[in-house]
Amino acid sequence: MGNFLKKLFFFLSPLIVLFILIEYYCNNSTTFSIKKRYFENHRKDIETLFLGTSHMQNAINPRFLKQNAANVAFAGQPIEIDYALLQKYINQMDNLKTVVFDVSPHIFYSRFDSSDWNGHIYANLYEIYYKVNPHSIKNHSYLLSNFKFFTSIYIDYVNPWAPKYEINKFGYISNDFYDRFLTLKNDSLKIDKTFIMMHTFDGKDMLEKNEKVLESAIRLCKNKAVKVLLVTPPFYHTYNDNVPAAAKKEVSDLVARIQKKFNVPYFDFSTSKNFNLKDFKNDSHLNPNGAKKFTVKVDSLINQLK
């Protein structure tokens, strides 16, 4: 038995060491952990909070805002999580003046599955247990929550030939140009030809459900005298052209209803002519140059609200 255990230990040791290294890296140097740290340390000073999905995550670099701000939007973040974040933290954010919601069309149709790995990330970052088992060990480990994603990040980190990401103190990746458009060398013809829509726009039940959740989130802000801004970030025309007309209308009607009900301003940049090919890293996400332009624009809008 002793010999067996020795051999087993010898076999498992490299795996354990590697696991610890990757976990340590993820806990300290990824956009997730840096955002978490910034949010934890500056919660009381934050004046503007940005919520939403990867569109907002990529579109707002808080560095270019005049006020203290945090961008806690993440890829695939459902409105329920936006609402849960507000419920959990709004009372701890003494200086919070404005909350900016991402109202991109696909958000209202997205279904958050209980087996989606993001659930464990929210549990890990904010102790929000949305559709996850609160006792799951995955809530405490980046690697176990999504091995493929976090090992690929770590491999990029140790691979001398891979691009190195620069993440600022807000958790924003300030050189995140590496995506479809760069691969296609910003060739608009190739970009137009090779577009594939990744989002789905069906499910009226989800639309209605998400509308109610957004209403609850706005109501919570209003009750705390926090201003609300609804924003659709810019999209490249390939994306816009492929969002079904029916979905565009449904979401536009939904946003109009909410605007009217709560008297909140809405700014739609989805087809803005101020953003061109060079401002995007792919069809639906701004690159850091585009984000700078957009953040400055949103900053002026927030200041106008005052």
Binding site: M1, N3, F4, K7, F11, P14, L15, D113, S115, D116, W117, S136, I137, K138, L144, N146, F147, K148, T151
Partner: protein, 478 residues
């Protein structure tokens, strides 16, 4: 708790330590600990059904003792025997088949012009009920037939029924095979433990890397509409790989885990897709269920003693019952019947025991004839799997209709290149290792340890890399 989860990866070492280090001085304590671990394992799925499991176990234990006591009193013995059979099958009937029978009956009445409103119940199927019921049934039948003595220790008997590696999806064990192992002191054998770990690793690879990756495409193709004939063929091919990877992967993990605890379970798969005819396929696929039906249904029905007519009838019966065992749906019944039809020529011409050896044993490649036979057998099995996978009989026929269209010769609209590459590697490894219990059992033994370890690390990496969403095992629903 699923085998392919982190929770199980924590659970297993804890049980291992308790088993070999804390309770190892007393066999009774060791069995009690394993029983507790097994009940905990089951409770992680749904603790409420523990009572059903405990009741079913106690029923068979008690009736077993009563039958033993009434050895010479045939009437009393029969009473206890039938009591156990009726209650066991009653549970299975209520939980698994109630809605099927009620809705089928109502449909039949509707066809005769009677309007009915059947009372369907929202019944959750207790995981593993088909498996542990069959454990109990074989035990009771064996006592009734005087093949074994009733087990006196409730703990040992309970462990036989609910030993966690086999509790939810088999292999379906026999009291004659497993109970003696439970009653005898186990000693730790490092070679067996290493072998067990290797089998677990290969099982995980089959499940996570092959079956779960196939599942994504299979679900898309089977749930979609208007796919070309060639895409539908690809869907059926991938499902054949999925169900094999899923179920044989589960069985490998179960056997590997049991081996770590010094217990040998019945082998459940023996490279069935390398079979040269359907009879051989069924000797190699879900072996513990096939042999169960042979011993407890086919032979009691008369087997092949009553001439060709009885042989054909009994073959049809066991295949149809086997299909029905899988689930309360006509699709499974048709799947069973179709396999019975496939096997008929070999029954009639008495060639069903022609291929008892391993194909191309000791050779690198099969002969052309062997290759064609394997391809044909695989194609027949894959065709039958369409019924197994389809949501309804009409969906299965629509799927088959879609295959036999002009688009059969077109390029599939879904072509998962990376997955097909993985499948090719998988088939090659399985072929090379087909003379062993599982593919990687011995083929890498001669390698130097750095290469062997590198391969293990590669498999571990692949398992983690592909383990996105946790997928249930297909056979859990049975």
């Amino acid at each position: 708790m699923l085998f392919n989860t982190i929770n199980f990866a924590i659970f297993l070492p804890i049980v291992f330590v308790c088993y070999w280090f804390i309770t190892n001085r007393s066999l009774k304590l060791q069995n009690l600990m394993l029983l507790g671990a097994s009940y905990f394992f089951y409770a992680c799925w749904d603790w409420r059904f523990l009572f059903l499991l405990a009741f079913s176990t106690f029923l068979d234990y008690f009736t077993g003792l009563k039958m033993s006591e009434a050895k010479h009193n045939v009437i009393v013995k029969k009473f206890w025997f039938w009591l156990s059979i009726i209650i066991n099958l009653g549970f299975l009937g209520v939980f698994k088949y109630y809605n099927f029978f009620v809705s089928s009956f109502a449909e039949m009445l509707n066809n005769f012009g009677f309007s009915t409103n059947p009372l369907l119940l929202k019944i959750i199927l207790p995981v593993g009920i088909s498996f542990y019921t069959f454990h109990g049934l074989s035990y009771v039948v064996d006592i009734y037939k005087n093949r074994i003595e009733a087990e006196k220790s409730l703990v040992d008997y309970s462990l036989f029924v609910s030993f966690f590696p086999l509790l939810v999806a088999g292999p379906i064990e026999r009291a004659t095979h497993l109970l003696p192992q439970i009653k005898n002191k186990r000693t730790f054998d490092p070679n067996k433990a290493v072998d067990g770990l290797r089998q677990i690793l290969w099982g995980l690879f089959k499940k996570v890397v092959i079956a779960d990756q196939c599942a994504t495409y299979v679900n898309t193709i089977f749930n979609g509409s208007d796919y070309s004939g060639s895409t539908l063929v690809l869907g059926a091919f991938l499902f054949a790989l999925q169900i094999y990877g899923d179920f044989s992967g589960y069985s490998d993990i179960a056997l590997g885990v049991a081996r770590i605890f010094g217990i040998e379970l019945l082998r459940n798969f023996a490279f069935p897709y390398f079979s040269r005819d359907i009879a051989e396929f069924w000797r190699r696929w879900h072996i513990s269920l096939s042999t169960w039906f042979r011993d407890y249904l086919y032979i009691p029905l008369g087997g092949s003693k009553g001439g060709m007519g009885m042989k054909i009838r009994n073959t049809f019966i066991i295949f149809i019952v086997s299909g029905f065992w899988h689930g309360a749906n006509w699709t499974f019944i048709i799947w069973g019947a179709l396999n019975a039809l496939y096997i008929m020529p070999s029954i009639i011409f008495e060639t069903n025991r022609k291929n008892l050896d391993i194909v191309a044993e000791g050779k690198w490649l099969p002969s052309f004839k062997e290759f064609i036979s394997m391809l044909l057998t695989f194609s027949l099995a894959t065709f039958a799997w369409i019924f197994f996978r389809a949501s309804s009989v009409s969906a299965a026929f629509k799927y088959i209709g879609g295959i036999f269209s002009k688009s059969l010769l077109s390029i599939p609209s879904i072509l998962p290149g990376r997955l097909l590459g993985l499948i090719l590697i998988f088939i090659i490894v399985e072929w090379i290792g087909r003379e062993n219990q599982f593919a990687i059992q011995k083929i890498i033994n001669k390698w130097k340890w750095p290469f062997r370890y590198a391969l293990y690390y590669l498999i571990i990496y692949a398992v983690f890399y592909f383990s996105g969403k946790e997928q249930q095992f297909i056979y859990f629903q049975f």
